[in-house]
Each structure stands twice: as structure tokens, then as C-alpha cells.
């Protein structure tokens, strides 16, 4: 099968007739509650009242038409991470259909049906789609299969135990009879929903654990895949915009005479804090935008600098914060230590820079609003649009799309809200496309972090105290307020607490400090993108202070964490740890347990005389529990490594006079193929519950690179991105 414009249907607009799926969804939504298989199933009476049944829809994820079509509704969005293959694998494994037999559709906004059980909202993030779906979606498939088998058995008047399902058919072994699912659909819809269906054991898996071809790929190599930016409702106009260059600023005046004279420009829309040019095409819209003369009132952040924010964070860490972990007596351990090690680290603001620029298409009518967008949390899009327009949420129809890179940026609804504000002034649908400069300069950024560490070592150099205090923004406090409790949230501290190492005395504190004048958001590998860098850098510093090999030092602390120890040993062995390298080349290692996945990486770097760093080779060992699609695990790590190297070597957003100083890929550099290392991935076989894979590779690589630079040059870099000037070879 392929996912393209024709097969990847928008569930919101293309409803089956008769006893419609929407009807069932709405009924379930009214009833409320979690994953409600029983509530979603049409009862015999309902079906009879409807007079016909055109499909078997045992739950919100599966629809088997009487025409034989099998449509799976995807509760998580595809943004490159392979979820539109892995989720179908979970369902198909238990439903007993082949992947080539299914068609996919994007889920509509419905917080009750499509909630991510690990986030509590309908969202794709935190590398937890598979972790959240592992049981519920296999159960969804097994429930449907059990009902189809029961339907066939009833029709044949045989014991269901003598039938089995395979490749979209039910088969009766004794008589050799078969019947296709589509032929059972109408009757299956009248069957009672079984409770507590049995799931397959791993030994019976046909799909899970075997490399599968991605279902979204064919349309992505011939130009037919439809991303949000490709939506073209009839009559759509194209708009681009300028938002206040200082966050919190306002439009003071606009002279749009020259812009209006541009061929193809239709309309100028002035908002409080932005101006948009609406045109026949983006070329005219951009030309019109350049012709606008806008005067801004910069507002309260007109003089803001990122250096001032960094100084504020540093200052904040001089006072105590919320205690995230307190094990043993770190203060006492420090007093008794033979050696004390102190260090501070800083991480910059980062933009997401997904290659698909921010965009959203909106048609506001008097009685409703229709939105075409690629978003990781479309319930928030719907709610945001409802708030702007004053419409009830159910009057806001959202069509989700493939996403041309999410990385956390598309968890936010700001782009959709902005597009709705503009569309309110436009007659007909309008597609608002941000220029790359707007995308970089009005991102919501990974927070700036300031970290302070102290450790005490005993007479053998081993840690007897570990103290860590850090300050920065809490995304969770803004995004999911109930999850921010007592000054802490699970994302901000992930990777900083409950480390795999045997550390006797640990004290970790966090201070929530929200920077003024710059919005912050989740960024690929989220909390761990910060914490793993500082923790694994500092662990390397302890090994150096103890004059021990950084690998051996870590291994000695892992006797009680066998899975962590195994990935670390495997990565080191495959990387040839300890074998000689040329001058100014070095290997660095990092270990992490985040997103439910154990991972170790060894990076091999070369540092040129001028200080330029080249990452030559990366070896990764991963234990992510049960693997769904091993090829996707490899692909995600290969790509996540590049994402992390970009951050380590180049990534930095700075503010001057309240304005983001970077604007396009010349000033916000992304790693290119000529700079890309070879990446080896070694997967540890495991029957444990699946861990997350979309983000883990991004956090581990950054300290591995920094530690490799230390091995190559004896220079410890505690601030990102790395400062090549500090790495110049002395003459």
C-alpha cells in the first residue's frame, strides 16, 4: 500500500455512510472515558435502527468495510519517526492482516478516543507513541480478530477454537473453508465485544521485530506525499507574514502602498503584532512583504540579550531549588571526600529548524472553521482556533497531514492560531506560509540552561557525593500545568535523576526560571537533550580527576544496572575503545537511560589545527526492549546522531536588542552530508517492554562528542556549541 493524497484520507471529511464512524466516535465522546471498545461498538439495536451496516468498526482505530477495505486510523502523527509503520504493525500483528492490505488515515482531533495515555492529551511527543500503544493497540487488533473469528464460526456453526485468522481471512482447519474479513464485516458489527482478549506471545510474532518497509515512503519519493504546506483547498490564497521582531512588540504603523501595487497581491492584513500579505502565490506575497514599510513598537524587551538571560540563570543557581532527588547525604559526602570536583555548564537556546517551514491553511466561515495543517497535537489546534473565532470546538474541523519535521515544534498551536487570526480577515481559504527567517526568528526555542555540579571522590577516585543544581525553563509548566508539581516536572529532570550509576549520595535541585521575551518549547530529546550532556560530561570529568579511563570508570559504577552496562560494553567493544588514534583525534563515550531505552555511544573526532571539529565515526549500542521495526530503530539513531552533532557543533540562537540574530541556514547552520560521520548501530536483543526511539540518539551523541574532544585535545568544553577558537593548536 501507499500513503498518498488518495489513500491517506482525512478522517474528518471522508466518513463512511450509513452507521457512520463519526456517529460512533461522537457517541463515544459523549459517553466519555478512556479507550472505550465497548462504547464504540454499535449495538445490534443501533445497527438494526440504521438499517444497514457498511463496516465493522470495533474501535476507533480499525474499520473493515463490507467492501473489504481495511482502514487503520493513526492516533499518532508521522513526522519521519516511522510511527505510520510501527503502529500499523502492532494492530496488524493481532488483527492478522498483512501490512500491504491496510490503508491509513490521520485521526481527527478527539482527545477521548485518541489520547496518548502517557501524556494525557492527543499528542505525539516524548518518544512514547509505541510505549503508549504497545498494549492498547495490540488489544484493539486482537479484539477485532476475535470478533471476526467468532462471526465466521457462528456462520459455519463450528467452535471458534477450530478457526484461525490469517492475512485478512478466517480459516476453518477441519473443512478448509475460508472467508474474507470484508464478508464478515456486517455480521461482526453485531457481535458482542469480548473482554480480556489474549495477546500473542513474542514467539508467535510475524511482524513485530522484523524489518518492515515503511508505508509512507513510496509517496515521499515521487512528489505525491501531502504535507500541510501542500494543502490546496479550492480558491486558496497564499499569505506570508512579518511578526514583531521583538517578542511582545506591536505594530505601530504600516505603509502598504508599494506592497499593494505588487502584481498578485490581494490584501494586507494588519494584526496587533504582525502584518500579513495575502496574494495569488508565495512569490507575490514575499515580494509584497518586502515592499511593506512597518514601524514597530518593540515593547518591554527592546534591549534584551541572551547574555543577560544567561547571567540571570547563573545567578539563580546560587540559591536552592526544588529537590528533584535526594539520596543519602551528598553534603556530608562532599565534606568527607578526598578530592572535590566542581564545574558549571551552559546550553544555548536552539531553534527546531524543521525543513518544512511553519504553515497552516485556514478557511473561516461564519458558522465554522476548517484547518489544514501538520501538527503533533491537533486537539490544541482545534481548541486554539475555537478560542480565536469564538466557535465551539466541534465547529472547527482539523485535517492533519504528514509533517516535514516536527522535533517538538509542531506540538505547539501558535502557527495555527496565527493563521486563524489572519484568515478571519480573508474571504475564502488562505494558506499562511512563514519564510525561513520568520520560522527561525519566531520559533519557540529549546530553553537556555545553566548547571552547577560538585562531586566528591574517595581515595580511589570513585564518587562519594554528586550534587547538581540547574536553572531554566519548564515547558511542562506551560504545556501541561497539572504535571508541574512542587517546582518539578518529569521532563525537565529526566536524565538528571535516577542515573544508572551506583552513586551513594546524590542531591539534585531544579530552579524554574522563565526567561523574559523569548518563548520556549520542547525540542527533540527534550529534558535529556540537556541533562545527558551535563551528566555525561561531568562523569567524564570525574574519571579524568581520578586519572582513570572514562569507560572503565563508568563500568565500575554499573554492577547493579546490567542493561546499562551491557550497552556501554558493547558500544566500546564495537568502537575499538583503547586502540590508538592519530594526534588530535579522540574517542568519547556517553551512556544514558532515558525514554525507557538504554543507549551508549562512542564518538570518534578529529580536531584540526584551526580548531574545527570533524566527527568521523559514531558507534551506538541500544537496548530499547522489544523492537517493533529494527530498520526504523537504526534509521532513527542514524538521523538523531546528525541532529545532535548539529547542536554540538553549530546550534545557537542569540538575542540582541530583543531580536533573534540568526535567520536562515547560513547563520543557523545544519550539519551537511560532507560533514556526516559513519554511524554504526548495534541492537541488543531484549524481551522487555518497548522503549522510545525517536529522540534517544540525539541526547547521547552530544556528550560523546564533547568527551572525544577532551580525549583529542585535553580541552574540556562546558558550554555549547563548542568553541573552535578554544581548540586551536598552540603554535
Amino acid at each position: 500500500m501507499t500513503v498518498n493524497a488518495s489513500t491517506l484520507r482525512a478522517a474528518t471529511t471522508d466518513q463512511p455512510s450509513g452507521l457512520s464512524r463519526r456517529h460512533i466516535l461522537q457517541a463515544a465522546a459523549v459517553a466519555g472515558g478512556g479507550l472505550m471498545l465497548s462504547l464504540m461498538l454499535p449495538t445490534a439495536n443501533d445497527a438494526a435502527a440504521a438499517g444497514e451496516v457498511d463496516a465493522f468498526t470495533p474501535n476507533a482505530f480499525i474499520r473493515i468495510g463490507t467492501d473489504g477495505q481495511i482502514i487503520l486510523t493513526m492516533p499518532y502523527v508521522e513526522m519521519g519517526q516511522g510511527t505510520y509503520t510501527a503502529i500499523p504493525m502492532l494492530i496488524a500483528e493481532e488483527l492478522e492482516v498483512d501490512l500491504k492490505q491496510v490503508r491509513l488515515e490521520h485521526a481527527p482531533p478527539n482527545e477521548k478516543l485518541y489520547v496518548n495515555p502517557l501524556l494525557g492529551i492527543q499528542a505525539t511527543g516524548n518518544s512514547n507513541a509505541i510505549r503508549g500503544a504497545w498494549n492498547p493497540l495490540r488489544e484493539a487488533g486482537a479484539t477485532a480478530r476475535t470478533m471476526l473469528v467468532a462471526t465466521a464460526a457462528k456462520r459455519w456453526n463450528v467452535d471458534p477454537a477450530t478457526c484461525r485468522a490469517q492475512s485478512g481471512e478466517v480459516f476453518h482447519q477441519a473443512t478448509g473453508r475460508t472467508v474474507k474479513y470484508g464478508q464478515l464485516a456486517a455480521d461482526a458489527a453485531r457481535m458482542p465485544v469480548p473482554k480480556n482478549v489474549a495477546l500473542k506471545g513474542a514467539e508467535d510474532f510475524k511482524l513485530i521485530g522484523r524489518p518492515a518497509k515503511r508505508l509512507d515512503t513510496p509517496a515521499k519519493v515521487n512528489g505525491t506525499a501531502v504535507y500541510g504546506i501542500d494543502a490546496r483547498p479550492p480558491g486558496v490564497k497564499i499569505a506570508t507574514l512579518a511578526q514583531s521582531p521583538v517578542f511582545g512588540g506591536r505594530v505601530k504603523s504600516v505603509n502598504d502602498a508599494a506592497a499593494k501595487a505588487v502584481k498578485g497581491v490581494r490584501q494586507i492584513v494588519r494584526l496587533d503584532d504582525a502584518v500579513a500579505v495575502v496574494a495569488d502565490h508565495m512569490g507575490a506575497a514575499k515580494k509584497g512583504l518586502e515592499a511593506l514599510v512597518i514601524e514597530w513598537d518593540d515593547g518591554p524587551h527592546a534591549k534584551l540579550t541572551s547574555a543577560a538571560i544567561a547571567a540571570e540563570l547563573e545567578h539563580a543557581t546560587q540559591a536552592p531549588g526544588a529537590v528533584a532527588q535526594n539520596t543519602g547525604d551528598a553534603a556530608g559526602g562532599l565534606t568527607r571526600a578526598v578530592t572535590r570536583v566542581d564545574a558549571t555548564y551552559q546550553l544555548p537556546f536552539l531553534a527546531h529548524a524543521a525543513l518544512e517551514p511553519m504553515n497552516c491553511t485556514v478557511h473561516v466561515r461564519q458558522d465554522g472553521c476548517e484547518i489544514w495543517v501538520g501538527n503533533q497535537a491537533i486537539g490544541r489546534v482545534q481548541a486554539g482556533a475555537a478560542k480565536v473565532t469564538g466557535l465551539p470546538p466541534e465547529k472547527v474541523v482539523v485535517h492533519n497531514h504528514l509533517i516535514g519535521g516536527g522535533f517538538g515544534r509542531r506540538l505547539e498551536e501558535d502557527g495555527a492560531v496565527r493563521a486563524v487570526q489572519i484568515a478571519q480577515h480573508v474571504d475564502g481559504p488562505v494558506k499562511v506560509v512563514w519564510t525561513r527567517e520568520e520560522d527561525i526568528q519566531h520559533d519557540m526555542y529549546r530553553p537556555y540552561w545553566f548547571d552547577r555540579f560538585s562531586a566528591g571522590l574517595d581515595d580511589k577516585g570513585m564518587p562519594v557525593a554528586w550534587s547538581h543544581r540547574f536553572a531554566g525553563s519548564s515547558i511542562i509548566a506551560r504545556y501541561l500545568p497539572p504535571a508541574f508539581k512542587d517546582g518539578l516536572d518529569p521532563d525537565t529532570t529526566e536524565g538528571a535523576i535516577d542515573l544508572p550509576y551506583a552513586l551513594p549520595n546524590v542531591h539534585v535541585e531544579y530552579l524554574r526560571v522563565e526567561p523574559p521575551g523569548i518563548p520556549t518549547a520542547f525540542w527533540r530529546s527534550v529534558g535529556p537533550s540537556h541533562n545527558v550532556f551535563v551528566v555525561e560530561s561531568f562523569m567524564d570529568e570525574l574519571a579524568a580527576a581520578a586519572k582513570q579511563d572514562p569507560l572503565a570508570y563508568r563500568l565500575a559504577l554499573l554492577d547493579k544496572a546490567p542493561r546499562a552496562k551491557a550497552v556501554l560494553a558493547l558500544a566500546a567493544q564495537k568502537a575499538g575503545w583503547g586502540t590508538p588514534l592519530p594526534a588530535r583525534a579522540g574517542r568519547g563515550v556517553a551512556l544514558q537511560f532515558v525514554f525507557g531505552t538504554y543507549m551508549a555511544q562512542v564518538a570518534e573526532v578529529e580536531v584540526a589545527k584551526d580548531g574545527a571539529v570533524r566527527v568521523r565515526r559514531v558507534v551506538c549500542a541500544v537496548d530499547c526492549g522489544t523492537v517493533i521495526n529494527p530498520d526504523t530503530v537504526r534509521a532513527q539513531i542514524q538521523g538523531a546522531v546528525m541532529f545532535g552533532i548539529t547542536a554540538a557543533l553549530y546550534g545557537e540562537i542569540t538575542l540582541k536588542d530583543g531580536r533573534v540574530e540568526q535567520g536562515n541556514f547560513d547563520s543557523y547552520q545544519i550539519l551537511r552530508i560532507n560533514e556526516a560521520p559513519a554511524v554504526e548501530v548495534h541492537i541488543v536483543e531484549s524481551a522487555a517492554t518497548p522503549g522510545g526511539m525517536g529522540e534517544a540518539g540525539t541526547s547521547a551523541i552530544v556528550p560523546a562528542v564533547a568527551n572525544a574532544i577532551f580525549a583529542a585535545t585535553a580541552k574540556r568544553l562546558r558550554k555549547l556549541p563548542i568553541d573552535t577558537a578554544a581548540l586551536k593548536q598552540p603554535v
Binding site: T224, Y227, G264, G283, G404, Q638, M642
Partner: protein, 151 residues
Amino acid sequence: MAFTIKVNGTAHSVDVDGDTPLLWVLRDVLGMTGTKFGCGMALCGACTVHVDGAPTRSCITPIDSVGTAAITTIEAIGATTAGAKIRKAWLDREVVQCGYCQSGQIMSATALLTGNPHPTDADIDDAMSGNICRCGTYVRIREAIKQAAQS
């Protein structure tokens, strides 16, 4: 003013300013959305098309510079020998993640293979370094180009 351009073998008349980038004519005027917008400054390669076979950043190519040249886009590149090999290698090697840059990657890789049927690693780096992949599929892009060259 009106321009007639030849895209994938078909002539199209469009009425836009002469400095309008080809990218927007393809995407917004002709509705051929396979060619992508990434930067608008020829920095990322997402908008790459072929103009008389040469890989060209359509985001900085004014429509009045195109003349009667043959424009080929991702929608039709599979009809060329090299394009078909590249597309197959992309599928065999599962290069694609989010896929947004891959139209441009495939157009650049096809141009490389057409002019240089047996590229070295350095040739691949040279030809492909103008195409950014934010998902970081570079390891597989290298593998796929090598596979296509051997096919």
C-alpha cells in the same frame, strides 16, 4: 506578464511578474507541490529541479530566466533512467524519514548519477552537500547513491 514554460514535457502559460521564482510558479500556480520550499536562498536544496538536466534551485530562479528550457521535477524524474535507479535505491535502502527534503535530494542525486555514473565518496559529498536533511538521513543517502550506481 505571460510566460510559457515547459515542465515535464508539457507547456504551461503563466501570468506572473518576471522575477517570480520558478518554485512558486510550480507550487502555487501550477499546483505541482512535489517540489518543496525550505529556505528561499538556495541554502537547503529542497526546491531542486532540473533545468535542461542541470540541478537548479528553483527558489532563486526567476521565471523570466527559464525561457524554453526543459524543466523536470520530482513528479517526472522517475521516467529517466538515472531517476528510476535513484528512486528504487531510495526505497530499497529506506532512506526517507519525514521526507520533506527528499524531492530535492533525489533531484540532486539523479543529476549526479546522470553526469557521473560511478561517483566516489568525495563526488557524492560534493554533489549532495547543498541539500540539507534535518532528519539526518545522510548515511543512507550515501548508501543509496552507491547502490544506484551499481545497478
